[in-house]
Assembly symmetry: C3
Homo-oligomer: 276 residues x 3
């Protein structure tokens, strides 16, 4: 598959590897180690800092900011907002992962507050989370997408992404069996990945971190989102091949291995993307 | 070994895999990633949430609550109590891991407070922790059981478990070389496992999380405790066989692999359990 | 290579394995699981506790205290100082890892405060961090050493370490392609390791934790620092050989495997150390 978007993704990976963008993460303590390691594996440099006394200072020296509300707490919400505003001021891309939006009032309010006060570049979530943010009926069960919501990823999904992208004036990425990415004009459909990715915690968070790395290395955040999600999907397939039979622990490690070996050639050979 | 209890454990594993119970964890930041991954590996769905503004809301939608005081802090104690009370109100099982009880006044007071304010379904600890809670002389050294305490797991151990179970009106599980589980009437002795489990951090926490998954899938919490502890012991043996020679890093990953492949047949073939 | 320092390192490893020193860590949530596992792998016993209500109590029962400011927050700074003072009072060694010093005012002030209020036994950092603390011009970029700073590890580096060691009256260890350790009189140069260590998050934090284990098992903290850093360098080489081709995920696991298999013979055969 060698169309324009594939070439852009491959080029952007080279940019990440050459420029080692510093990616500031304000994230959860469950998957933070994996997020740091996946960022190193793709060629970026991770920094985690969430205290209000330094959050904006760290954002200032970074190429991208990733906000993830996986283990939300009152102490860090203020840091998320402050860092987000600093990023906006300096034109640094902000990638937002609304983990579990819909699961509690606290997550809902925080999601709303972040979207109101910070200009987001890329919003990445599963179908349950994105439907919730869109004001549509969703059936969130914890932090994983509900099965009924996963099945709704089709043409209707493309409209959900496109409409929300236009409403929020950002790129919206819905990940699942099929991934849908839209900046309100363009819509990309990605068919890479494997169901086994849902059996390892943090593959969503890692995808968001990767999107941060790609957005930190280029100015087209739609391509940044496509790149990060394609990278995870492709490496999920490679990891499945290498270690899927062994178990989810080895599969987890094989994902990071695959990301560390990813190059533009592998992307060109394996990516299943189309613009619709 | 094909007695009644073995069949119950195998059946309960099938329930976990079929029903994917949502397990709410308020736990420590050291082993939280492993706890999430082991829950996914056994077929459950993990959610970690510890802020007071959402703790009870998350408990409300969960099938089990796991409280672990491994890295205790003032911010989350209130969440533990509030979530515990909500779980009690809704008849959701509460599994409590009093990590390091006996090692500091703060842990001791918190353990006492939790046991006073929350009705626990399963209390799982090492012999040092359980002896401390029983008001017996123990020799806690940090978060690992002291060697002298590990050796006391025998008939005397069965009495410790049984007495405390009656006192707290819950199931008490003491894990070590031999595991003892009692609900005050029944007592099960498990002989699975390997010493190497003590060379990986969080195998205790992971066991507690597994107990949470099994209790979230059935109503007999004594069987839930036996199941979670048997699963870890059996998978420790499988991991030892596969990766013990390689080192503790590979052994760690092999535990999660083995849990992800565990089924009722493996349990029937490998479990060493007796009721006394 | 079988000189005096090599024999001391080998002997100290045996002390760690025999005495299982309890190492109290107040550290960051990114790499904390790896720090606990590397401590178990080397034969020590880890405990993580950072709440002010128990920090000093935990320090009191420990053989070493490790302070790491990787994800600094206001809540734990007070615990770091209080635990540090308790350690000083009881002659327990304190190992300090000033992660990201130079990257934000908050980290700079905290580093300064810790160095003023706590008597440090070993300060371990990368060249950017150590130069910053020395009051020299550095070019910190996040939590990783800048490339220009990494290249300055040579004779000039030995002077930086020696001067700061004399100023702070402690052992200073600068890790990088070449590692330099000085207690103000002695200077050791270590040439073990591999660049790939920089592709896994927390290899610096793990090294600091290992230094804590070795300092907890002996009274010569210069040798403790050399030992911890040598252990990581050697095991990095072993891991590179075993898993470097596979990817950074497998390399990460292979480091922990190698530490768990490390013995004085391997050290004698592989260590590249000289005193200058």
């Amino acid at each position: 598959m060698s169309n324009e978007i594939v070439i852009k993704v491959g080029k952007l990976l080279n940019e990440v590897r050459n420029n080692k963008p510093l990616v500031h993460n304000i994230t959860n303590y469950v998957t933070v180690n994996d997020c740091a390691n996946i960022l190193l594996a793709i060629g970026a440099s991770p920094i985690m800092a969430d205290d209000i006394k330094e959050a904006a200072d760290i954002t200032k020296i970074s190429s991208a900011l990733v906000i993830n509300i996986g283990t939300l707490n009152e102490r860090t919400i203020e840091s998320m907002i402050t860092s987000g505003k600093k990023a906006n001021e300096l034109n640094i891309p902000v990638v937002f992962d609304p983990v579990g939006a819909g699961a509690s009032e606290f997550r809902n309010e925080t999601t709303k507050k972040i979207l109101e006060e910070v200009k987001i570049s890329v919003l990445r979530g599963n179908m349950s989370e994105i439907k919730f943010i869109s004001g549509l009926e969703s059936s969130t069960k914890g932090v994983d997408a509900s099965e009924s919501d996963m099945e709704s990823v089709n043409d209707k999904g493309a409209n959900v992404a496109k409409n929300l992208a236009n409403k929020l004036n950002c790129t919206v990425a819905i990940t699942g069996v099929t991934d849908i990415i839209s900046d309100g004009k363009r819509v990309a459909i990605l068919e890479n990945g494997t169901k086994m990715l849902a059996n390892v915690t943090g593959t969503g968070c890692m995808t968001t971190a990767l999107v941060g790395a790609f957005c930190g290395a280029g100015s087209d955040y739609f391509i940044g989102a496509v790149s990060g999600i394609a990278a995870m999907g492709i490496c999920g397939e490679i990891a499945l091949e290498k270690a899927g039979q062994i178990g989810t622990g080895s599969f987890h490690i094989a994902i990071i291995d695959a990301i560390s070996n990813l190059n533009s050639e592998i992307i060109e050979n394996m990516v299943k993307v189309k613009e619709i």
